[in-house]
């Protein structure tokens, strides 16, 4: 089997699993949790394009998520725009914004890039809190309509599950295709050495901005979906902590791995659900997770699993030899 075929098969199996999963936990609140896993996976995959593929950090991605959610929310509630058009409009607006700020921001590297994106994220967060007339301020914005196709509205957990996961699967497919393309190879070259990539004729500057914009647009779409499924949004869901959480998901799963992003998003969404006993300790767990993963498993869970597998195989082979 060629590599492309294997990737396609893996994606098909994953899609199948996603489609039949609700049958196993029908009606339970797990469906609701899985909706959040879907949104977070979409966000993590989007961030992974920038972080894992192109090697550019963003500590402000929650801002794009929030802008998508709030633009959709305000357009539908205050200006009576249809939910689908509001979603498209906010994606276009965030796309333009990210493209514009992308040029000066991505000129920066490493720590400076981290700080600049962080600063951008905080400015957006302050704006969401202070433009009370428009956004309702810290107390939030409610009454956002559900998305619907004709008379059929996405108003239950099951329906939302398929809506969100539909978009998430599309995002994953786009991401797989992108990383297999010429652009994906160029971005990986930038990740390894930007100077070398530029010497080879890669337009690094433009490519970085483009992947930043794609990542921002996907995050904004996730935001719009979040707003219409929750019907209520508040700035606290789009603050600095959320940006850090997204980075954690990508790192825990494994930089550059699409299924790793799903794994990271799944673990970080489910963990707080099951660690209710820990209550406030979850923030300490995040911190530890970030440090321990970066120090001892820099490739994330996916490559960690692969390494363990390889070691196990090598160990078995060694055992066979001693037996023989």
């Amino acid at each position: 089997m060629t590599r492309e075929k294997r990737k396609f098969l893996a994606f098909a199996l994953f899609t199948l699993a996603v489609l039949i999963a609700p049958l196993f936990f029908q009606g339970s609140y797990l469906v609701n949790v899985m909706v959040f896993v879907g949104i977070n996976t979409m966000l993590a995959v989007a961030l992974n394009l920038l972080l894992g593929l192109a090697g550019q950090i963003s500590l402000g991605h929650a801002a794009f998520f929030g802008l998508g959610a709030y633009l959709s929310g305000v357009l539908t509630t205050a200006y009576a725009v249809g939910p689908w058009s509001a979603m498209a409009l906010s994606a276009v607006a965030v796309g333009c914004l990210s493209f514009l700020i992308g040029f000066p921001i991505l000129k920066l590297k490493g720590h400076y890039l981290a700080m600049a994106t962080l600063g951008f994220g905080i400015i957006v967060y302050i704006l969401l809190n202070e433009t009370v007339d428009l956004t309702g301020g810290p107390s939030g914005l409610s009454g956002i309509p559900n998305l619907s196709i004709g008379p059929w509205a996405f108003d239950s957990d099951e329906k939302n599950y398929y809506l969100i996961w539909g978009f998430t699967l599309l995002t994953m497919l786009l991401s797989i295709n992108l990383s297999n393309s010429r652009i994906g190879r160029a971005l990986r070259a930038i990740h390894d050495s930007e100077i070398a990539a530029r010497v080879m004729g890669v337009n690094a500057r433009l490519l970085k901005v483009q992947v930043f914009a794609i990542s921002a647009i996907l995050s904004a779409l996730a935001g719009s979906l979040y707003a219409s499924t929750m019907t209520f949004i508040a700035p606290a869901s789009f603050g600095f902590n959320v940006s850090v959480e997204l980075v954690t998901m990508v790192i825990v799963g494994g930089l550059g791995s699409i299924y790793g992003s799903f794994l990271g998003a799944g673990i970080l969404t489910l963990l707080p659900e099951y660690l209710r006993v820990l209550q406030d300790y979850d923030i300490v767990v995040y911190g530890l997770l970030l440090i321990v993963m970066t120090m001892f498993m820099p490739g994330g869970l996916v490559s960690g699993i692969r390494r363990v597998e390889a070691a196990a195989r090598a160990g078995m082979r060694g055992k066979d030899r001693t037996n023989a």
Binding site: H111, M115, I123, D280, P298
Partner: protein, 294 residues
């Protein structure tokens, strides 16, 4: 005139918060110059300074001076432990991993503080009363004078340390070229550890002197740290006068902006300044441009 005295008032309070930003910025610069790392956990040392002083004062019933000493000592111990446990094992890590490690550490320290001391904001009693003094029609609290005095002492002391002491010169050599510094017999790893000690000590002192004015809680480190970073960026990451001027400039801008334009966007001002500087002159306002080595 009414407005003139008001502006003097804004300037004074701006200069005092600016002095705090300058101190935090110095902490960033000291570590950056020794290691090339931007320590995202810098703000947490500031938080620790204030919260630990409060802890020793109220929970341990110690007088102010020992409480302050112990607070500085404990925050420095945290900084040292952080360097030994997380930074030293990763000498050759990419900037991305280092950013993430220091963010992880800052979350960890903040989370621990929240678990230990709760989410409430507390006020530290002022060092010497709260009777306002009058200067040119503006009022000033004794605590402001403490801030100015401590800041000046720290800046002068660090200046003397980096120019005249052997350890200070060795640290500057490491900043300039760690390999060459190692070749002439300077223990680079010790200097890196040293930079974390100095930086966490300065950070905690900043947190201690500002706590009586602005209240303190487990999460003050985020914003204070970022604004200190902004000061250091304006100053071109120098561990000297540039960062001090950057901090004062930022403090005054913020205070004037809050007073004359809008108080609710006060925190946004620092970040707009940060972005503008990073976009236009990432090497700092006072520094000459350098070419990048490949």
């Amino acid at each position: 005139m009414e407005t003139a005295s008001q502006i003097v008032q804004y300037l004074l309070s701006g200069l005092s918060t600016g002095a705090i930003y300058a101190l935090i910025g110095l902490g960033f610069a000291v570590i950056y110059n020794a290691t090339g790392i931007i320590n995202f956990a810098q703000g947490e040392f500031v938080m620790l300074g204030g919260m630990l002083t409060l802890f020793f004062l109220t929970d341990m019933n110690l007088p102010l001076v020992p409480a302050v000493m112990l607070a500085i000592f404990s925050s420095t111990a945290v900084g040292t432990a952080f360097e030994r446990l997380a930074i030293r094992p990763l000498r050759n890590a990419t900037p991305l991993s280092l950013v993430i490690i220091t963010i992880g550490a800052s979350i960890l320290i903040r989370g621990q503080a929240m678990l230990l001391w709760g989410k409430d904001t507390h006020a530290l009693p002022p060092f010497s009363g709260s009777d306002p003094l009058e200067i040119a029609g503006a009022t000033i609290l004794p605590q402001h004078l403490w801030i100015f005095a401590v800041t000046i002492v720290i800046i002068v002391a660090s200046r003397l340390f980096f120019t005249y002491s052997i350890a200070g010169k060795a640290m500057r050599a490491c900043a300039y070229n760690p390999r060459a510094a190692g070749l002439v017999g300077i223990d680079v790893r010790k200097m890196v550890l040293f930079s974390f000690v100095i930086s966490s000590a300065i950070g905690s002192m900043a947190g201690i002197i500002v706590a009586p004015l602005t209240m303190t809680s487990y999460d003050v480190g985020i914003l204070l740290g970022l604004k200190g970073f902004c000061a250091a960026i304006i100053g071109g990451m120098s561990s000297g006068l540039g960062t001090v001027i950057g901090g004062l400039l930022l403090g005054v801008l913020e205070s004037l902006g809050a007073g004359l334009i809008s108080a609710s966007y006060k925190d946004a001002i620092a970040f707009v300044v940060l972005l503008v500087i990073l976009f236009v002159r990432p090497e700092g306002v006072f520094k000459k441009t350098e070419t990048e080595r490949v």
